[in-house]
């Protein structure tokens, strides 16, 4: 058998990859458990300055004194925090893996979502051939952003390159002592994004696009810090419609948004972590703290489509500190099988003439439990505050549950608050109407669910709205008896 030059080259390449890969892993995985040394080691690994190490330690000490919250309407086996390894090297591509090795169900789902083959490979950690096109696109994007003065980089780099910004804002919206998971995240976060939009700059593209090309950092403890300086605008999308089968069971992310005077931030999330199988085994615990602070005339809009995770515990909130600031929350939460979601928002009105809108759509199917939990608080100095909330739940099948826990606190006589919540199922007459016109039941349900969630889907950036719509269909597949 002839040994061609090409074959040799291939072999060498593979070998090199193999070794490089394994060496890396060995040195980069920390032992399980959490103590001050681990926190210091993470900080060291990231080559962080002293103040950051101290900040992490402070968070760790607070975390130690805290207890895991139990008030949420979810039931799960508590993770053992001493059995988790808090740092491991980011996953590299496995050169020997091809798309044929990937679970065919998953590929089928990708196909339905219309995700390109390259992207599929990337998502599955399959080595990607060099696609000249996408690299050049990424580079172009980077250039455009740099021209505008926009800083967009991993947070670990930002700590080194822009310490003054990070130091000023990190923990300013979600302090270390905010809650159990926020404290944990503050102590051990390893990656995440940092974004700064300078004064008066309108970010020319959805940062999501960039994000997807640059491989989302899907760490266990993600930390995102987004600062929109005066009169700037940015639209940011995190997550992906494509399902992620991450091995990490516990995810505790913190997202802090700072909208300075007149700035506008649109933050969209599509979350589709592994929800566990149809028997409710496995699945990701998603305990996230997301909060925004709005200065004068600023506007923050949260949009989320939550379809994944076994347990979700997430309340993107707005502190409307400045006068005339606006907070918005649009959410679709879909739970199927044994999923549990306890999600909602907090709108804290501090400034005068602040406005908030909450639109929450919960869809529960299978044996899942879906809760909306929200707080609207009008403080005594918030004259002329206005809130409108609407929480609708759709129940599919008689083994699921839908719950609402809205808290409304008004301390100002000029406050105007409206809250509405409804729970219902898909009407038989609606289905019948569709059937009669030749639309089968499954399609009819997709159609109705789409209509039900339209108000929220409309708020997503265009390309994701299309994918999210398909995602809803897929998430509910097979839920109709």
């Amino acid at each position: 058998m002839a040994y061609t030059e090409e074959e040799l080259k291939k072999e060498l390449e593979t070998k090199e990859y193999e070794y490089g890969f394994y060496t890396d892993i060995e040195s980069d995985t920390f032992p399980v458990g959490l103590n001050e040394e681990i926190v210091i080691a993470i900080s060291k690994k990231k080559e962080e300055p002293e103040w950051m190490t101290q900040w992490r330690l402070e968070a760790f000490r607070i975390w130690e004194s805290m207890e895991e919250p139990t008030w949420a309407n979810v039931h799960y086996e508590k993770p053992d925090f001493q059995k988790i390894s808090y740092y491991s090297a980011p996953k590299s591509a496995d050169p020997n893996k091809t798309l044929d090795d990937v679970d065919p169900d998953l590929l089928e789902m990708y196909r339905k979502l219309g995700i390109s083959v390259d992207e599929q490979k990337k998502l599955q950690n399959v080595a990607v051939d060099i696609v000249v096109d996408s690299v050049s696109v990424a580079t172009t994007f980077k250039k455009t952003l740099a021209e505008k003065g926009i800083i967009f980089m991993p947070i670990s780099e930002a700590i080194k390159e822009h310490p003054e910004l990070v130091k000023k804002y990190i923990g300013s919206v979600v302090p270390q002592k905010d809650n159990f998971y926020a404290a944990l995240n503050s102590a051990v976060f390893t990656d995440g994004s940092f974004c700064y939009i300078p004064k008066g700059v309108r970010c020319p593209m959805e940062l999501s696009t960039y994000f997807r090309i640059n491989q989302a950092g899907t760490g266990q403890f993600e930390r995102t810090l987004l600062i929109a300086d005066e009169d700037s605008y940015v639209s940011y999308l995190e997550g992906c419609t494509a399902p992620s089968r991450d091995e990490n069971q516990l995810h505790a992310a913190v997202v802090e948004l700072i909208a300075l005077d007149g700035a506008e931030i649109k933050y969209s999330t599509v979350q589709n972590w592994f929800p566990g199988n149809s028997e409710g085994k496995g699945g990701v615990f998603n305990f996230v703290t997301k909060r925004a602070i709005c200065e004068k005339n600023a506007k923050v809009s949260w949009t989320q489509v939550e379809t994944g995770s076994a347990v979700t515990w997430k309340y993107p909130s707005c502190i409307l500190k400045g006068d005339n600031s606006i907070g918005e929350f649009y959410s679709i939460a879909v739970t199927n099988n044994y999923q549990q979601a306890d999600t909602g928002t907090k709108m804290i009105h501090l400034g005068k003439n602040t406005k908030s809108t909450i639109i929450s759509k919960g869809i529960s199917a299978g044996k899942s439990q879906n809760s909306y939990r929200g707080l609207v608080q009008i403080n005594s100095r918030a004259d002329g505050a206005r809130n409108f909330s609407q929480c609708d739940s759709l129940l599919m099948g008689n083994e699921c549950g839908a719950h609402t826990f809205p808290y409304i606190e008004a301390k100002n006589k000029t406050a105007m608050i409206e809250h509405e919540a409804t729970t219902s199922k898909i009407g038989e007459d609606q289905i019948f109407y569709c059937n009669q016109r030749g639309i089968d039941t499954e399609k009819a349900i997709a159609l109705i669910v789409n209509g039900f969630s339209k108000e929220v889907l409309n708020k997503l950036p265009m390309e994701f709205a299309v994918e999210a719509q398909k995602l809803l269909e897929i998430s509910l597949e097979g839920s109709v008896g």
Binding site: S380, G397, P406, Y407, I408, A410, M416, A421, T422
Partner: protein
């Protein structure tokens, strides 16, 4: 507090009481840390040294307390003064129906059958204040309406506290059993006639059998030193209709725990409330409707107007069990804040496990419509009266469901007094 000294260990419900005191000793008074008491603090009340067992009976003249009765109509009356039954002021009956005393019902053999079936059956056995009442209550109203009966006239239950002794803790306990196809109308009122602090921790159990109809009106217009914790438990069977109206205008701290359990099909439960507060008053409405069977309905409509430094709380919980298909559960809570220092906390809560249901809750907090106010003023109605008119209109939905006209007129009058106006007409 030496509880045991005054406890009758031979009493037929002694065991029930012992179990209850044990629970209370474990739990103690609820604190703000508990979700159900998040917005209401009992701290100020716990500081007061209340006496639990009144030592002497205080006599009252009818003319002194006449205004507190719905005296325009003839009623049965069960009157208590400082927790002790006043036969002089009361009008009870055993003519076809039993409208009498809890103490009698608990001890006399002829009532044993009813007591065995119903006493302390739906009242919570682990809610601390309810068990406190179970442990120490001695007196209250006992109303038993047999099958197909209806008392000739409404029943009034009145509790006066004269406060000749220092501060008084009253723990009345009512049992109301309405058998199949029977009907009853009850008006309940707590009134303090003293400037001493009083605290009433009342428990009422209502059982509505098949097709029974119960109207229960609670008038809460007590003195500024009086606090009330009112625990009401309602058990409903097939096709029964129970309406509970709560009118909260007075008192220092009022907490209404109103619990409905629907143990049958085609049940209708209504909870309505009008709350008008001023000064430093605090009212907390904590409602629960548990839909446990299919084809039932529940309606809640609570209106609140809050002035001065008053605080209001509405916590409405609806649970729909998995088998309770075709449930219709509606809840509405509308509030008006008329002062900068007033505040309202509202927490509606739906927990739904069945799919074929229609459930909704709505909550609003707002102000009087400036345009409407201007309209009325432009037609020569003074501002104060115009505001009162608008507030009347706001509360009118609830008032229109009061089925005793004289009572409705009385409540209108109370509202007018509370708002400080004289409209010169009834709505």
């Amino acid at each position: 507090m030496a509880f045991e000294n005054n406890v009758d260990v031979e009493h037929p419900v002694h065991d029930v009481r012992m179990a209850a005191i044990k629970n209370f000793e474990e739990k103690g008074f609820p604190s703000k840390k508990e979700e159900a008491w998040k917005y209401t603090s009992l701290n100020s009340l716990q500081k007061i040294d209340f006496s639990i067992f009144p030592k002497e009976q205080n006599a009252l003249e009818y003319k002194d307390v006449k205004p507190y009765f719905i005296h325009e109509i003839d009623t049965y009356k069960i009157v208590f003064v400082d927790g002790i039954y006043s036969s002089y002021l009361s009008e009870t009956t055993h003519d076809g129906v039993d409208i009498c005393l809890m103490s009698a019902a608990l001890t006399k053999p002829m009532y044993k059958q009813v007591i065995d079936v119903y006493f302390n059956k739906i009242a919570s056995k682990d809610e601390s204040l309810t068990t406190l009442n179970t442990a120490f209550s001695r007196e209250g109203a006992y109303i038993y309406i047999p099958k197909n009966k209806m008392p000739k006239k409404p029943i009034e239950i009145l509790h006066f506290s004269t406060g000749n002794e220092a501060s008084l803790l009253l723990q009345p306990r009512n049992l109301i059993v309405v058998e199949e196809n029977a009907e009853v109308q009850i008006i309940e009122r707590h009134q303090s006639l003293t400037s001493n602090d009083t605290l009433t921790n009342a428990v009422t159990e209502i059982f509505a059998a098949k097709s029974a109809i119960v109207d229960f009106y609670k008038i809460q217009n007590d003195a500024a030193t009086a606090s009330l914790i009112d625990n009401t438990y309602v058990d409903q069977k097939d096709k029964s209709v129970v309406n509970v109206h709560t009118f909260s205008f007075g008192g220092k701290l009022t907490r209404n725990n109103l619990n409905f359990y629907q143990n049958g099909e085609y049940i209708d439960s209504t909870m309505n409330g009008v709350t008008i507060l001023g000064e430093k008053q605090h009212v907390d409405h904590y409602t629960l409707v548990h839909h446990m069977q299919p084809n039932c309905e529940s309606h809640q409509d609570y209106k609140g107007i809050y002035g001065d430094s008053s605080t209001g709380v509405f916590n409405g919980k609806i649970i729909v069990d998995k088998i309770a298909q075709k449930t219709n559960a509606f809840q509405k809570n509308n509030n008006i804040l008329i002062s900068d220092k007033a505040s309202i906390n509202s927490k509606p809560q739906l927990e739904i496990f069945a799919d074929d249901v229609k459930c909704s809750h709505g909550c609003t907090i707002g102000q009087l419509d400036e345009d409407a106010l201007f309209y009325l003023q432009s037609r020569g109605i003074p501002k104060k009266e115009a505001r009162a008119l608008l507030m009347y209109a706001f509360a009118n939905n609830v008032l229109s469901t009061v089925r005793i006209p004289e009572l409705k007129a009385r409540i209108n009058k109370l509202i007018a007094e509370k708002l400080g106006v004289n409209l010169g007409f009834d709505l």
